[in-house]
């Protein structure tokens, strides 16, 4: 049986994890807070859609926003607090819009003989490029994935990573190195052209 956390232990739990726990207990105040935080979802989808050359129209984007929110709600029990709710939600947005854009592209662009790289304009990074790296991060163990995210996405030092994950600094370093090796193998297996 799961024991109740003491108040001292609760203070060690990341604030977003506490928020999610309250939401899962259907605390009305926490649900309102979550709604405020999740307002980033339609904005993020809109930004991603713009980057991809607007494969989805306004209505499709609204529908997709709804799908993403339902998916986020269903996945909330699996939120591990290793990143902020927004970073975690970003991944859901990213995969959902890529899937939706594939369908839209299949409907309208492939038939015209255009390639994926023609869908994106300018010199900004192409959203399709990072699919493999996100897939790779998902396939690593949670501990390895967390270390890579904290090092590269949140730019923490190894000391800070150790504190965040409650592990010694040297363990953080070893885990980082092993995670990088494993990710490199996964990306090589997918034949990703690393830049």
């Amino acid at each position: 049986m799961r024991r109740q956390l003491s108040s001292a232990e609760e203070t060690l739990v990341p604030p977003d994890t506490l928020l999610v726990r309250r939401v899962l207990r259907r605390d009305p105040e926490a649900i309102e807070l979550l709604i405020q935080r999740m307002k980033f979802v339609p904005r993020m989808l809109s930004a991603l859609n713009a980057r991809m050359g607007r494969p989805l129209d306004e209505h499709e984007l609204l529908d997709l926003g709804q799908e993403v929110l339902i998916l986020i709600w269903k996945k909330l029990p699996r939120f591990d607090g290793k990143t902020s709710l927004e970073s975690w939600g970003f991944r859901v947005c990213y995969f959902c819009i890529l899937n939706a854009a594939r369908k839209a592209r299949h409907r309208s662009v492939v038939g015209l003989g255009l390639e994926a790289d023609q869908l994106t304009g300018g010199s900004r990074p192409d959203p399709w490029e990072f699919e493999a790296v996100y897939h790779g991060l998902d396939r690593l163990s949670p501990g390895e994935s967390a270390v890579l995210r904290l090092k590269h996405f949140e730019e923490l030092t190894f000391e800070e990573i150790g504190e965040r994950l409650s592990i010694p600094t040297n363990t953080a370093k070893t885990r980082y190195y092993r995670a990088l090796c494993n990710l490199q193998e996964l990306l090589s297996a997918e034949e990703v052209a690393l830049r």
Binding site: V23, S46, L62, R107, Y177
Partner: protein, 240 residues
């Protein structure tokens, strides 16, 4: 350096963690002596740069999202959807209970299916007719060669007719049709592989779609048509 059962691992680890940039002579000498170590270090450095690029990409999107225009309709949607989900009654079924129930159902179905399978070469005896049961392909396909599409169908005694396989895209447009298939390959198992005039060129065109659907219909000589539920077929990501 600590001894390790994988030579070079500790040294590489030290380098990835930044000792090379400090110009440590011991490290630089070890690298100069071992081209393989240099190659592995380059690989890991590229992976690290790729992670940094993904991080920059994510950060710039968050910036764009923050600076993006407010969309009242979308904001209202967030509240509506999440409040609706929060009010939805929670299922008493835990995921593990559902998995066990699904497993038991699968075992029961396999046992039942095995019992009803006629001997190879026998006439079609027993078993209910009705929708053909789709067997393969069910998952990821290698698009380099046309796969075999297999299904099970046990006609009523005296039934005469044929089966047809249709492949279509997610918009419902027909991509490929098998023509009349009159004989099972064994027992109640039937098969169609796109060959002859439909392959390989049409298959290659088809394989360019990331996913498509297949469906089998039985058509009796009296004109009665029964169709399976359509099922999606996925292609291997590396083949797209």
């Amino acid at each position: 350096m600590k001894p390790n059962d994988r030579p070079g691992t500790d040294l590489l680890g030290e380098l990835v963690l930044g000792r090379r940039s400090t110009g440590d002579p011991e490290v630089l000498a070890a690298f100069a002596a071992d081209p393989e170590l240099e190659r592995r270090w380059q690989e890991l450095s590229r992976t690290a740069r790729f992670l940094d690029a993904a991080s920059d990409f994510e950060a710039s999107l968050f910036r764009e999202a923050r600076e993006g225009e407010s969309t009242p309709a979308a904001d209202a949607n967030v509240g509506r959807v999440l409040r609706e989900e929060a009010q939805r009654p929670r299922s008493p079924w835990k995921p593990w209970a559902l998995a066990i129930a699904a497993g038991l159902l699968l075992v029961a179905w396999l046992a039942f299916r095995g019992r009803g399978e006629p001997d190879p070469g026998s006439t079609y005896l027993g078993g209910a007719s009705g929708a053909p049961l789709l067997l393969e392909p069910t998952g990821t396909l290698d698009s380099s060669a046309a796969p075999a599409f297999r299904w099970a169908f046990v006609p009523e005694p005296g039934w005469e007719g044929h089966c047809e396989v249709v492949l279509y895209d997610d918009a419902g447009s027909e991509l490929l049709r098998s023509g009349e298939i009159r004989e099972p390959i064994r027992g109640s198992t039937w098969e169609w592989r796109p060959t002859g005039p439909t392959a390989p060129s049409q298959w290659i065109d088809l394989a360019r779609n990331e996913a498509f659907f297949w469906q089998v219909s039985t058509v009796s000589n009296l004109g009665a048509v029964t169709s399976s539920a359509p099922r999606q077929v996925f292609l291997a990501p590396s083949e797209r």
